[in-house]
Symmetry: C2
DNA sequence: TCGCCCTTCTAAATCGTTTTAGGTGGCTTC
DNA sequence: GAAGCCACCTAAAACGATTTAGAAGGGCGA
C-alpha cells in the first residue's frame, strides 16, 4: 500500500537523525514533528493518529533535537551555568547538587564550570556573554577580578546570581549565609568557654566579604567580650587542608603567648589545623580549642570531631537556582536573602555536652 | 480605569551585539567579520586596515560570537562533557580538574555534569545524543544502567571515553588504573605485616569493575599468601564517609573472630572506617590496621594518617581528555591504557617506616 | 455554484554563524 | 585595448530547529 521504503541508502553512515528525517519517515512536515514533540500538537489540531506516527518515527530513529539549533531558534538554552573555583572542597559540591535538583525541577539543566584559574574564569564568563551557552549564571566563590566580567554580563541582561559573594560588588542578586554572625557565634562560643586568646585563621587568597565578614564577626565577638583584638592572632593560609595546617603552625611559631583557641575560615582548613596540632603533640581541645566553619560532613569524622558553624548548603543551592530562574522567567525578582547559620557543638571546642 | 499598565516596553535591555552589528559598524560584510575574528582574515587576503576596523568594532560592541549559532554551523561545539556521579568525593574533582587543564590546552572547554541520579544521568546522556551540546564525553563513575545509553551514544559516533569503568562494557576507549593490582598490593601489604584476618569493605552500589577488580585483587593476595577467603570478612557500604563507618561497624558486629586489618574501597570510606574504630575505642593500627584506596589529599590529614594506594589522578584526567580529543580529531585513537598505582605507607597500617 | 468555516496540516522565515563560490575594479602584459 | 590576473571583499547557502501565517480539503447552508 504505502511506499514506506526508507530511501536512506545515501547517508548510510552514522549521521544523526534530524527532525527532517523523522518528518520523512512519518510522512508529515517538519513543523508537525516539532509541534508534536513539544506537546503543542493538540493545541494546533493535529490528529492523534498523526501524533502516533510522529512519535513512533521519532522513537525508531532515536531522535533527539539538536541542542544548538533549538537554542539558537528559541534564544534560550534551558541551561544554567554553575561556576565555582573550588570544586575540590566538598562544600561546593553540596551546594551545586542542591542547585542542580532545584533547577531540574523547573526544567533546567545545570552545567558546572570549574575553570581552574582566574584567567580561565574570565574567559569562561566572556564566552557566556556571547549567548547560546546558557541562560544564566550562578557563581560561587569567584575571585575578585571576576567582578568586572560579572558586571558586564549582568548589564547586558544575562541573569546572574551570586552565592555568598562576588568580590565587593553588592549590586547583584545574592543568596548568602550570615557570615559575620556565624563568625561572631563561633568566636563567642570559644570566649564563653573561657578562652581569652582566640586566634583566627583566614583565607590568604580572598579579599572580599567571605574574608572580611568573618573577620568582622570575629572582632565583634571579641569586642562584646571585652577582649582586645590582637592582629598577631590572625593568620592567613591557602584555602586547602595544607593551608590550614601551615597557618596553624605559623600561629604557634610566633613568640609571645600562644592562643588557646582558634576559629578557622572553613572546615577544610580546620581539618588541616587539627592535623597540625596533632603532629605538634598538642591535644584538642585541651591545648587548643578549634571551631570550623561550613558544616561539611567531614567535620563529624575528624579526631576530635569538629565543632563548626553549619551552613544551610542545600538551601543555599536551592535558593540560588530558584532566584536565578525566577529572574530569567520574569517572576518576582526574589530579593537577595541572607540565611541563618547554626552552631554545631562537637568535641574540638571542649564544650561539655 | 484604563489598562495603562502596559507590559514593560519590550525589555529593551541592550540586545546582544551580533556579527551583523559588528559588520555594520566596521562597514564590512558579516563574512569579513567572521573571517577576521577567526584568524582567517589574512589567508583570505583581507587588509590589515580592515582587520583593525573589524577588531575595534568588535571591541567597542563587546562582541562575542553566539555559541549556539557557531556550534550549529560548525557542527562542533568545542565543549567536552565530563560526567560523574560523585562530585562530592574530592577524588573526582581532582580528575576533572586535570581533564579540564588538558582540554583547555587543546582548545576545548569542559563542562561538568553531575546529574545526581541514575535517571537524570540517562536523561543527560540522551540529550547529548541529539548533538549540539558537546563534542564528546568523558565519563567517570557511571552506574550500571548507563551502559546502554553510553553504547547508543558511541554507536552513533559520539565520542566517549571512560575513566576507570563503564559497567561491564569493555568496548569503549578507557583510561584506568590497575585496580586489581592496587587491591592486591594493598592486601598483600597487610598480609606482609602479619595479618591473617584481613577484611575488605566494598561499595554497595557499584557492581562493575571498580568493585570486582578490587575484590579480585584482594582475593588474589589472599591466595598468594595461602590465606583462605572468608566472605564474612567482606562488607559493603554506601560510598560515603558514613557508609564506611557503617560497614566497619557491621564488620565488627558479627560473631566469630574479628579481622585485624581491613582494606577499604576508597579513602573516603576509609576515613569513615577510621572514625568508626575511634568511636568504638579501638586503636589504629594496633587493634585494626587500615589501608585505603585513591590517595586523596585528605588521607595525609587523618588520625592516624592513612596508608593508601595512590592513583595517578592527574594523569588519569589528562589522558582521558587527550584520548577523547584525539578520538574527536581523528588522530591515532590512543588505545585503552592502564596506569600503575603506588602504595603510600602512612600510619594506619602499622608498618614501621 | 459559491462562499464560509472547520479541521488538519505545511511553507517559509528566522535564529547568528561559517564558509564557499564568486564579483569588482585596477594593474599588467602583449 | 583586450585578456588575464590580482587583491580585496561580499552574497548566499548552509546548519537544524521553532513558529506564524496561511493552504488544502471537506462539509454545509443558501
Amino acid at each position: 500500500m504505502i511506499a514506506l521504503l526508507v530511501p536512506a541508502p545515501e547517508t548510510r553512515s552514522v549521521r544523526k537523525a534530524t527532525g527532517r528525517d523523522v518528518a520523512r519517515l512519518a510522512g508529515v512536515s517538519q513543523s508537525a514533528v516539532s509541534l508534536i514533540l513539544n506537546g503543542e500538537g493538540l493545541r494546533h489540531g493535529l490528529t492523534p493518529a498523526t501524533h502516533d506516527r510522529v512519535q513512533s518515527a521519532a522513537a525508531t530513529l532515536g531522535y533527539v533535537p539538536n541542542h544548538a539549533a533549538r537554542s539558537l531558534r528559541r534564544q534560550r538554552t534551558n541551561v544554567i551555568t554553575f561556576m565555582t573555583s573550588e570544586l575540590g572542597n566538598p562544600y561546593f559540591a553540596e551546594v551545586a547538587a542542591a542547585a542542580q535538583r532545584a533547577a531540574m525541577a523547573r526544567g533546567y539543566v545545570i552545567d558546572i564550570i570549574a575553570a581552574g584559574s582566574e584567567a580561565a574564569e574570565i574567559e569562561a564568563l566572556a564566552r557566556l556573554r556571547g549567548g547560546g551557552t546558557s541562560d544564566g549564571l550562578v557563581i560561587h566563590g569567584g575571585s575578585a577580578r571576576i567582578c568586572q566580567e560579572l558586571r558586564q554580563l549582568s548589564d547586558r541582561g544575562f541573569g546572574c546570581v551570586v552565592v555568598q559573594d562576588a568580590g565587593e560588588d553588592a549590586s547583584l542578586p545574592c543568596v548568602r549565609v550570615d557570615l559575620q554572625e556565624g563568625a561572631r557565634i563561633a568566636t563567642q562560643h570559644l570566649l564563653s568557654l573561657g578562652h581569652r586568646r582566640v586566634a583566627h585563621i583566614t583565607d590568604a587568597r580572598l579579599t572580599g566579604r567571605p574574608r572580611n565578614d568573618r573577620l568582622a564577626g570575629y572582632r565583634q565577638a571579641l569586642t562584646e567580650a571585652g577582649v582586645a583584638f590582637d592582629d598577631t592572632l590572625v593568620k592567613a593560609g591557602a584555602n586547602t587542608l595544607a593551608g590550614g595546617e601551615a597557618a596553624l603552625r605559623a600561629l604557634l611559631a610566633q613568640s609571645g603567648s600562644p592562643p588557646t583557641a582558634v576559629f578557622v575560615f572553613n572546615d577544610q582548613m580546620a581539618v588541616g589545623a587539627l592535623h597540625a596540632l596533632r603532629t605538634l603533640g598538642l591535644t584538642v581541645p585541651d591545648d587548643m580549642a578549634v571551631v570550623g566553619f561550613d558544616g561539611i560532613d567531614l567535620g563529624a569524622f575528624t579526631a576530635p570531631t569538629l565543632t563548626t558553624i553549619d551552613h544551610p548548603r542545600h538551601e543555599l543551592g536551592r535558593r540560588a537556582a530558584e532566584t536565578l530562574i525566577d529572574l530569567l522567567e520574569g517572576t518576582p525578582p526574589a530579593a537577595t536573602c541572607t540565611l541563618p547559620v547554626r552552631l554545631v557543638v562537637r568535641r574540638s571546642c571542649g564544650a561539655k555536652t
